[in-house]
Symmetry: C2
Amino acid sequence: MTAPAIPTLPAIAGFIAAGGSPVAIADAALARIAAWDDPALFLARVDPHAVRARAAALAAEGPRGRPLFGVPFVVKDNIDVAGMRTTAACPDYAYTAQEDAPAVARLLAAGAVLLGKVNLDQFATGLNGTRSPHGTPRNPVVADCIPGGSSSGSATAVASGIAAFSLGTDTAGSGRVPAMACNIVGLKPSLGLVPTQGVVPACRSLDCVSVFALTVADAAAVLQAMAGAAPEDRYSRAAPPSWRAAPAPQPQWRLAAPLPAQLVFDSPDDAALFDAALARAEALGGSVTRVDMAPFLAIARRLYDGAWVAERTAALRGMVEQRPEAVHRVTLGILRAGLDKRTVEAWEDFHEAAEARRLARALFAGVDILLLPTAPGLPSLADLAAEPVAANSRLGTYTNFVNICDLAALAVPAGFRADGRPAGVTLVGPAFAEARLAGLGAALHAAAGVTLGALGAPVPPPPAPPDLAPDEVPLLAIG
Amino acid sequence: MTAPAIPTLPAIAGFIAAGGSPVAIADAALARIAAWDDPALFLARVDPHAVRARAAALAAEGPRGRPLFGVPFVVKDNIDVAGMRTTAACPDYAYTAQEDAPAVARLLAAGAVLLGKVNLDQFATGLNGTRSPHGTPRNPVVADCIPGGSSSGSATAVASGIAAFSLGTDTAGSGRVPAMACNIVGLKPSLGLVPTQGVVPACRSLDCVSVFALTVADAAAVLQAMAGAAPEDRYSRAAPPSWRAAPAPQPQWRLAAPLPAQLVFDSPDDAALFDAALARAEALGGSVTRVDMAPFLAIARRLYDGAWVAERTAALRGMVEQRPEAVHRVTLGILRAGLDKRTVEAWEDFHEAAEARRLARALFAGVDILLLPTAPGLPSLADLAAEPVAANSRLGTYTNFVNICDLAALAVPAGFRADGRPAGVTLVGPAFAEARLAGLGAALHAAAGVTLGALGAPVPPPPAPPDLAPDEVPLLAIG
């Protein structure tokens, strides 16, 4: 019996249900790692013998209802796995983790099989994937383009079919931009929904553990398995009791999109692809209202110019002040800028952030989901090398404000430019609205005319919305 | 018919119900202002003719169900009243307010009668009441002691019987310490429960509008009348739908108090008065657990040493940098220190604050109310003059952490030292637990063996807890 060629969760579960073994799944993943042969992907592998032993142990136990039984995954190397080095792509920063991060521990408890730890923009600072001393992971979809970052390895491992899903982190878009770059799904959960204990801090107050997967339903299932407050994590918080991650379709959607004049794109194709995504959303039952995005775009700019850059610096001050030569040149420049910031000015940023959160609450009192381009466009490796800071900043245009505003987001593929570069659309909603985002996200993904990652397989059909009689008004639950 | 000598809300309502006029209530208040004759109390009075006209207009309309019909009150002069100057006790900072602060507007809509705006520690920075260019309001209970601050005039106006209630503000204890100093009740609501729109910012992210009253039930009734989110206030937030302020007694209370070794007092009498308050709480059905307060005391110290002093500076930067000669000498020293703070260090404060909030959540998962001394003791005017910064800091020992930790608090009188200085106990609970605090607070106040303010009248009996059969377990609601 052959392991499924396209490692979605339903395919793996079907294989297991039909008598297949987790060992065959693991062997297939190990074979894909060898065939993919990207020296910039893994920063540390779980020894293949250990991977097979773990799969064999699972096979001996049987599924026992575990939702990720036998599912291979990789972890961004700024997240702790007990007994492995955590490097954040900075060898001089590295330490050996004593414990699994709670997110990892919950996935392992759910039956997932860890393949290793993957490359990232150093200290998760960047949105492009080239800021690593270990090289840039190869983009499986368009080899001459950046893989996106900072979760570069996490996205390429999924798009190439090595891992069924992966963990990234997302402070400013690191869980969304690489999803666009690699034609896969990126789910950035609500702040505090997944513990960030055991994660190397970027902006500790804004960091989220995120999920990459081939499909929206898979990303939601992974999130469901690792969500929940950790009592010792100061930034984790309890979800509403009714919270679920699984896609919740609706027969109607109240959607928002930016005023056309506020949208910037790299090319007319990128603009057309976003318009097409909006049109699909309307065809799926959504009504789109154009809204003023200026306050959100303004707070986005403060993320790298204002108080939060100093939050990154605070987390890495020892490196910046005592071992600057060990830090990536571009990253060091960013982190050093944080040393000069004054608190009296930081409060202007915080008060503006509070105002942006207020405006976001007001927005989502009237709409269900805000639709945005995931980024203005995908730069090539050459584009990025020519402008390593400016091109990176541009990638965060539509992502940087989301965490500051306490919102959840889901990036899904939106088709390809004529030159083959992928585009993406991001669904943004209030905290704990993951199920709502997944409901529309799955439908938009299925309607986008794309295949999964770099694998050529069709997108599965989304769950159907509940039927309503014509005179019924749908109830829109927040949770 | 004579207006009630003790202007509690039930006394005023009873007077009105018996056919008395709001004009008689207003006349009595105006007569008390004249008799009290403290030139340091009012910074601006509503013209007595206007007060009487307002009362006459109310009399003509009739109560129409308004909960504060004809009730005289004063407002701290850092809160806007349309058409009056807002000075924050700094004449050079003053401006004429165009609109009522929402808190004031709601009280006026509830039928209350404004007498004027009262003195405070300049820019609400201080806990003692002496930091004003307009002198120190006289303490009605012990004339040689400070009135407490920063809401000095708000507390003395109530303790002297001029106003039935008053508005203060509370960032670090300004709504609690003056209540202790003046033998009255001080209610510091949850962050965001009362809009801070139209309030001169101290620490904008932590500021609360607070209530002083003679009784707990009166303070709760005033809070009920002005609670509720204001859509344009970035720091206001919606209370749970079940939220009420009215005292909610319980047959049993799970109480916490600091480890004895963590308590500091000015005198053995102060210590004995706190122990007696704990004993009364136990006699009222409470079980007291001693808890480690070290993390809360540590975050309290950061309020004036760390990032939040720069928040004060940010709000008043123009004054500090361009008109320093117009700022009170002690206040200027504090505000100037905020100019030098670096954001990279502020983040350590914020991460510690997040940890303190986590610990507070954990504490209140297991107990209903934390009991604390309101302050270590009440300094004399001479004590404060000898050590204007250190004695002030000491007053905040048990108050400074509360707002940072997103908690609600209620200060109630706890008796008198042998030398006649009042002491207080403060009840602290989670956000939106005001009714719970008021339930125990009213009972503790009634059991304390004190009279109201400086008025010599007995404390009214508290509402009775619901009866429970011996085998029933009480349900403790958070809201």
